[in-house]
């Protein structure tokens, strides 16, 4: 056997390569900002026009932040789905592709957290629901929210890549069962004995810790699933 003509790159170089492939179309980083700005302006105009109907605390149910979460979910899904086969065909391993994409998602999460907090610093709760000032805890909270959203998208897409439609049907079937079971559990005797988890009883720090743990679990599950997925 001959030796490898091209020597292996370091882990950081390999992951950075995947980040580069992920953002071959830089428009994907700009588009959400354009839409967020548009939504921000539209929301502003609408709330100004309907000021009498806005609740006393000035909180809006639909904000650009909400749109951003949906956008990040969809782009993470599209990135994993569309670039998986191409990346593997271009000599990239599954692990490098998955963790490189997650590095990209983490960097995007930091970027959008900075953008959101910068706008919120000027506009207050007008831009971010539950806004309580610019600070490290809020910054981390946004990053956890964005990474968690993208980790959820990555792991559900990994299910599709590994098991196709049957996998998705099983996953969403299971999810539907959980969603039905939770309210039933909550009103049952058993539910009354469980500790209550809601935003009113948890501190921001506790929320961030729980959110990070959930994101980590999703990332790990996604990796375990995608590491043996075939290329269709």
């Amino acid at each position: 056997m001959t030796t490898l003509p091209i020597q292996q790159q370091t882990l950081v170089q390999r992951l950075w390569k995947v980040v580069g492939i992920n953002v071959v179309r830089p428009w994907v980083l700009v588009l959400p900002l354009v839409i967020m700005t548009a939504l921000f302006l539209v929301t502003g105009i609408l709330s100004w026009l309907t000021i009498a109907f806005v609740p006393a605390d000035g909180q809006l149910w639909f904000s650009p932040e909400f749109f951003l979460i949906i956008f990040l979910f969809l782009t993470a899904n599209q990135t994993i789905y569309h670039e998986y086969a191409v990346s593997l065909s271009f000599g990239i391993s599954r692990s490098d592709f998955y963790f490189g994409s997650l590095l990209n998602f983490a960097l995007q999460s930091i970027w959008y957290a900075v953008v959101c907090l910068s706008i919120a610093a000027v506009t207050g709760s007008f831009f971010l629901n539950e806004f309580s000032g610019v600070g490290v805890t809020n910054f981390v909270s946004l990053i956890v929210l964005f990474i968690g959203t993208q980790a959820l998208a990555a792991s559900t897409t990994a299910i599709y890549l590994r098991w196709g439609k049957p996998g998705m049907l099983t996953f969403f079937g299971g999810l539907a069962l959980v969603l039905v079971a939770l309210p039933v559990l909550a009103v049952s005797d058993l539910g009354s004995e469980l500790p209550t988890l809601n935003s009113e009883t948890l501190t921001m720090l506790e929320t961030n810790v729980i959110g990070s743990a959930v994101a980590l679990i999703l990332i790990t599950l996604g990796y375990l699933i995608i590491r043996k997925a075939s290329v269709r």
Binding site: M1, T2, L4, V24, Q78, H82, V86, G91, R94, R227
Partner: protein
């Protein structure tokens, strides 16, 4: 010559259906290899296994002495281009080339750009809106300009028209001479690629039924044509791979003829010419797939 790919007793089954069945083969460094076979013979599955896109059911694959599956060091040396490869929804050819430039260490961007012009791939159109032939050309451009030490091309040129395919074969050969590397081409257009290939593997129903150097293979059989009676007399004692009778005329593909045999048959009024690679392979694939043909 040193081996870069070794496959031993490899099998891949999907829910009871065996796509690759106990395959063993070796590929040496710097050569153009053909993986030939009919549609559904197992070519793509075998290539996917070698490229680490699938896990084998049983058996071993070794690329540069290690398993390719999830092996970044090995995979960095490979490009696997398939006709069915789908790119991101909003990619244009420029995005594909940019991604390939990032991915491949030996990428030649000037060569890639010249190929885009040569194959007349529209630069402003989304890849998903390209015609099948143009999409095939995208794969060909990436496969050639990547200059990966191991380049696996799974019929990426199949959607191209005859003229574009001829361009591809010429460019592939010229670039291979300048930048020798290991190229594995799968195809069922055997005659078109026959002059390119140094070695062929023929796969049928998941099994390798022919593993031979192309030159040895070409000299191993001949087509003999003439009246049925004279052909029957002439070919007695030779291995007949294929036989066809039309009226009083008969045409056989016979194996094992030496130069003096051919001269003797010609002097007896029979037409004798070397069998083409396609004739040989069609003959072989018509045989029982359990019979692996050995060519000296």
């Amino acid at each position: 010559m040193t081996k870069v790919i070794e496959v031993n007793n490899l099998t891949k089954s999907y829910r009871g259906a065996t796509a690759v069945d106990s395959v063993s083969l070796a590929i040496e460094e710097n050569g153009i290899y053909g993986l030939l076979g009919r549609n559904g013979a197992g070519k793509t599955t075998l290539m996917k296994l070698v490229a680490g896109h699938e896990l084998a059911s049983t058996g071993e694959i070794s690329v540069y002495g290690a398993s390719p599956f999830e092996n970044s060091a090995v995979l960095a040396n490979m490009a696997f281009i398939r006709e069915s490869l789908r790119y991101s929804e909003n990619y244009k050819i420029g995005h594909v080339l940019k991604a390939a430039k990032i991915a491949f260490a030996n990428w030649d961007d000037a060569f890639a750009q010249s190929l885009v012009d040569k194959f007349q791939i529209p630069r402003k159109r989304l890849v998903r809106k390209l015609s099948r032939g143009q999409l095939s050309a995208v794969g060909v451009v990436v496969g050639l300009a990547a200059r990966a030490p191991i380049t696996i091309l799974d019929e990426p040129y199949i959607g191209m028209d005859a003229v574009a395919r001829k361009h591809f074969y010429d460019i592939l050969l010229a670039d291979y001479i300048k930048h020798p590397r290991t190229i594995v081409l799968s195809t069922h257009l055997i005659d078109e690629v026959a002059d390119l290939l140094e070695h062929v593997f023929v796969i049928d129903q998941g099994r390798i039924i022919l593993d031979a150097n192309t030159e040895d293979l070409r000299g191993s059989a001949a087509v003999i044509e003439g009246s049925t009676e004279s052909v029957d007399d002439a070919v007695a004692g030779f291995v007949i791979l294929e036989s066809q009778t039309i009226g009083t005329q008969k045409r056989v593909v016979a194996q094992g003829l030496k130069a003096e045999d051919a001269a003797r048959l010609q002097s007896a009024g029979l037409a004798v010419k070397p069998a083409t690679l396609q004739q040989l392979i069609i003959s072989q694939t018509n045989m029982d797939s359990s019979e692996k043909v050995e060519v000296a």
